[in-house]
Symmetry: C2
Subunit: 130 residues, 2 copies
């Protein structure tokens, strides 16, 4: 049996719904492009908006997911991604273990540091400057 796996797209969050809307659009786009019917994509915010990362991890754990990939929609890794999020995920894993729920959570590189995204940003800036 394959390990039941889900991905959480993690954005910073904002109290402003205008800021949140493009992340919802991205989630819908990702979901509609997934070819594997078992694939599961969710969205979470680190602060200032719901659903939180904790809420999403607990929900997926309760649905039997055993591995969660957290994909940060950030340009770079600062304090949040280097300290706050790992600490949050450690604490969550411990809480779930105490309920006999074993789950592995993997925090990925911020999307902005991926070469394709960095290339696209650079190309758009150069075009805008012409």
């Amino acid at each position: 049996m394959t390990l039941k796996t889900a991905s959480i797209l993690l954005a910073h969050g904002s109290s402003d719904p205008h800021w949140l809307a493009p992340f919802d659009q991205l989630l819908q786009r990702i979901r509609s492009s997934l070819t594997d019917p078992q694939a599961r994509a969710e969205l979470a915010y680190m602060e200032l908006a719901e659903p939180s990362l904790q809420t999403q991890v607990k929900r997926l754990a309760s649905e039997g997911y055993k591995r969660i990939d957290v994909l940060p929609l950030f340009f770079a890794a600062g304090r949040h991604l280097r300290k706050d999020v790992p600490a949050m995920l450690d604490e969550l894993q411990q809480q779930l273990q105490q309920q006999d729920i074993e789950i592995s959570i993997h925090l990925h590189t911020p999307i902005g540091l991926e070469p394709e995204v960095a290339d696209a940003i650079s190309q758009v800036v150069l075009r805008q400057m012409q």
Copy 2:
């Protein structure tokens, strides 16, 4: 004579140098890719890091730039880009006008909303989910 034009890449800013480093790398990459020897690219942070947007606009104005394009390295437009930055730019323009310095400042769409960047983000997420 062509209007002397400069671009400022505007990032949110952070007190964490790890967060700032990729933005410096992007600026170096942009500068080394510019083919027009008159083209000028600078970087500014909205908060928590230097140089600030105000510092960069004033510096470019003092160097005789008459048009500044502000290109926000943001995923989406929230309160910062919809309210704080426009207010900051209006105030700066007024301050400069009082010194008889005429400058036009254009705030662009956040880079994350540009189709090439949104496409790249979507493709990377889909690849990471496979």
